[in-house]
Symmetry: C2
């Protein structure tokens, strides 16, 4: 009477980027669990229950999904992008740690196209050399950690990808990020703001750090910063393989 | 009489991880270009020419693909994983820079599931917090750069993903990587060796740095290193969202 818990990545938004593996898991599910806009992407059908919940309740959502799976349901937790990159996979394992009576549930994670790679593909190959990936939100870590990682990433000459750059509850932090980058990478470094990547309302802009300002980002924006060798070529931006 | 050049990511190996967008581009192609084992994944059909070439000729391959596209063909360059992560996208833009007479070719990049995210999904959520991605090959950068980036990544407490960890032409360098990591991250840090991810011959092992040795990696292995908070839970490995 064991069900299954699948944590599936829906990709950045375009249905043509959902893997067949994820499509098959959704077709077989009895329950789909996730944040409202991601669950809204799943077409309703007979025998499928959609459980849409608000943001910032990831742990409760994960426990609920584990409980349903333990009761024999075939549950799919949906994330946008890839579930392992600042998304539901870690939250589910945190929930498993807190609920040892649910630790027997069989968990499978289905990878997806994460936003930074979809954004990079739209503009060229800005992440074509060593890079780092930082969640700019300080909901779950001290802001000092974000600043320290930015400084070290600049020193390593990593290209960078930023998730969750800015929200209404912390409007000033992203301006501080831009200041740090200008100090450590110089004003000519390229930065890419990619909003709603692969969706009809997609908007991508490439500017230098000198031209960048905080209003260019919101919570639907993923940001890419080039390394010292990243350059424009025609409409594209790319990082050569020989950087560093 | 303009053709198109599409650079497509085939994912890590399992056909269920190829996006519908890539499948559609391949169905429309007149020519598929790539490294022998990746082109071998494309089923032959009438009207499709397969151009398989050896490794280490990425630039020649890219120029050839651009030339065919300029001549009106519908060319797809295939990479495994995601084309923007240590794969063909940067090589194509390098080729564009060297062949200005081909700069008018329309280039589109189709993202894919990159090996590190497929490997992470197989074992849990080891990249569930800030992380960095390093190509350990020194074919295209000085070895000193690799060492410097490893040290800074450890200092930032990034989880890490390594591509191209080891080849027969440089057997000793990966042992040096393990020494650096042991020095900077301590012997208890978790490291994951994921070979041939999602293929029938897949083999994944999780050990501590104290237990790791260089023979555990080859060129078909992607490696993940946890951050200071990464832990095991049952058969899984995950990094909590509150690290750092």
């Amino acid at each position: 009477m064991n069900g299954t818990l699948v944590i599936a990545g829906l990709g950045p938004g375009d249905e043509a980027l959902v893997t067949p593996e994820v499509t098959a898991a959704l077709a077989d599910a009895t329950d789909v669990v996730g944040y409202i806009p991601y669950v809204a992407r799943i077409p309703p059908r007979e025998g499928l229950i959609l459980h849409a919940t608000d943001n910032r309740v990831e742990l409760e959502r994960a426990v609920h999904a584990l409980e349903m799976a333990a009761a024999g349901r075939r549950v799919v937790v949906v994330s946008s992008g890839d579930p392992g990159v600042f998304a539901m996979a870690s939250a589910v394992f945190e929930a498993v740690e807190r609920t040892p009576y649910l630790a027997h549930v069989d968990i499978r994670i289905l990878p997806g196209v994460t936003a930074m790679l979809a954004a990079a593909a739209r503009i060229g190959a800005p992440l074509g050399h060593d890079f780092c990936v930082i969640n700019l939100s300080d909901n779950l870590k001290p802001w000092e950690t974000v600043e320290r990682r930015l400084r070290l990433a600049a020193q390593a000459d990593f290209a960078m990808a930023f998730y969750n750059p800015r929200s209404s509850s912390r409007p000033h932090q992203f301006a501080r990020v831009l200041d740090i980058l200008r100090e450590d990478c110089g004003p000519e470094r390229l930065i890419i703001f990619a909003r709603a990547v692969t969706m009809p309302e997609e908007r991508i802009s490439v500017v230098t750090l000198a031209e960048a300002h905080a209003d260019m980002a919101d919570m639907r924006t993923v940001i890419l910063v080039g390394n010292a060798s990243t350059r424009r070529i025609g409409p594209y931006v790319y990082t050569p393989r020989r950087s560093g």
